[in-house]
Amino acid sequence: MGGHAHSGGVEQAICVGVVTDAATLADFLERRLQTAGPIAAALAAAACHAVAGNTVGNSEPGYDPADGAAAMADRLGDLDTEAEARTPSPALRTASRSLGRGLTRLGKRAWPHPAWADLSAAPHHPIAIGVAAAASGVKPIGAAHVAAYLTISGPATAAQRLLSLDPLTVAMITAQLSARVDAVAARAAADPSGPLSAVSDPWFDLLAETHASRGDRLFAS
């Protein structure tokens, strides 16, 4: 929710002449998938796992639901902090929390679940994706897929609008990345309770900060 107003940095990349056509857009999306993708996917998978493994569905012997609820709340809080640590740009933090806020607003209504009460009104987007996935019965790998895909689908459609590209071409570029989206998601969800990806890409931070200072931007980020 709210994604249509965010360009994932592509508006600024277009403004500075880095993305100019379908080919340069494909490069941009690939880079974004390989840097922003693993972080978002890992956080989403971990959040999904934290919820799915600590609620009523858990039938392991000796499992105490009260302990589970507390563990879930702790883990979701930790993951939000991990997301903050992996998002150094204030503009990107704001964007992520704004998208998380929109999804949380939707998720509470569409998929009621106790885990929503453990989130702030505006959690980081991947955390909200993970909770929404768990609350709707989707597994961590599904949450990772959604998060990875969203890192490219937003900028793809934003570039389509800003450069007046052929929508079929943009759809093709996005579709051609599907195997890589799968790979990013699979890696991210392989161990959803283990260490999180810590890839960083200062270029996206720079794009976001420069973009935020523009007076003539069409997109929120």
């Binding site: 929710m1 709210g2 107003a5 933090r93 998208l99 509470k108 003539d216 931007r217 997109f219 929120a220």
Partner: protein, 262 residues
């Protein structure tokens, strides 16, 4: 931490325990105004129809219409006219962030902290109708910053004749046309003209200069709008937009009966 991080979410979240209540048709919803959570709270019960909580969030009025029809000038006029009576704020949805917001500031209509501008990513109609997240965020930010708000205008970015506001975002909406767009526009219809709670036909002082027949516009509007009102307006001749302000007061009286003018 972004400035809005700690806002209490006062949108429809409160409706979760009674999600079916949100599926009401527009007609029902317009008869029974929606209520957000009480200010300062986040998990209050959905109070529709109970008569309680009616003043717990301001009346939201959407102002839509084509580019250049005078939406911002109308909002500025309404703020000037109603600002002394009600506690109010404005959300703008300009193509670029600040044009309309700057106009409102320049005209000293409202202080900066009562105006929020949102970006719409090239899709002004999406932001007021299909995915209202960014506008809800701005609305909630203003509501939390000014807990006593009575009235909140959400001004759309200029769009086409089909652009209407979701009733998930506003309680009532005004569609603004101007005579210079041609006197056939009301006949063309479209959801903006046919279904807005109020149609304003602006710049009537220009009618004779552009060859627009006000009688035709009024007649065609009535034909497609049923009993919904249409107001002919010239902000040049009436900078207070008195008739539109009166309509807003009526909406407040009807939808927020316990809000009284200062």
């Amino acid at each position: 931490m972004p400035p809005d991080h700690n806002l209490n979410d006062s949108s429809g979240d409160a409706a979760v325990p009674h999600a079916h209540a949100q599926l009401a048709t527009n007609e029902v919803r317009r008869a029974v105004p929606r209520f957000g959570a009480p200010k300062g709270g986040s998990d209050a019960l959905y109070l529709a129809g109970s008569g309680e909580g009616e003043n717990r969030r301001p009346l939201r009025i959407g102002i839509g219409g084509p580019v250049g029809s005078g939406k911002t000038a109308l909002v500025a006029a309404l703020c000037k006219t109603l600002g002394a009576e009600y506690d109010l704020a404005v959300v703008t949805n300009d193509i670029y962030t600040t044009e309309d917001a700057d106009f409102l500031r320049r005209n000293a209509v409202l202080p900066d902290d009562r105006i929020e501008a949102v970006q719409t990513g090239c899709c002004p109609h999406t932001a007021i109708r299909d995915d209202i997240s960014a506008n809800l965020d701005a609305v909630e930010l203003l509501e939390s910053r000014h807990p006593g708000l009575d009235l909140l205008f959400v001004e759309s970015g200029g769009d086409n004749l089909t652009a209407t506001f979701s009733y998930g975002l506003v309680d009532a909406q005004v569609f603004v046309l101007d005579v210079a767009g041609g006197d056939k526009v009301p006949r063309k219809g479209g959801p903006g003209v046919t279904s807005a709670d109020l149609l304003v036909i602006n710049k009537t002082d220009l009618a004779s200069l552009v060859g627009a027949d006000l009688g035709v516009m009024e007649r065609d509007s009535a034909a497609v709008r049923g009993d919904r009102p249409t107001i002919l307006l010239s902000l040049r001749e009436d900078p207070s937009a008195a008739a539109v302000a009166a309509w807003v007061r009526d909406r407040l009286a009807q939808l927020r009966p316990s809000v009284v003018a200062m």
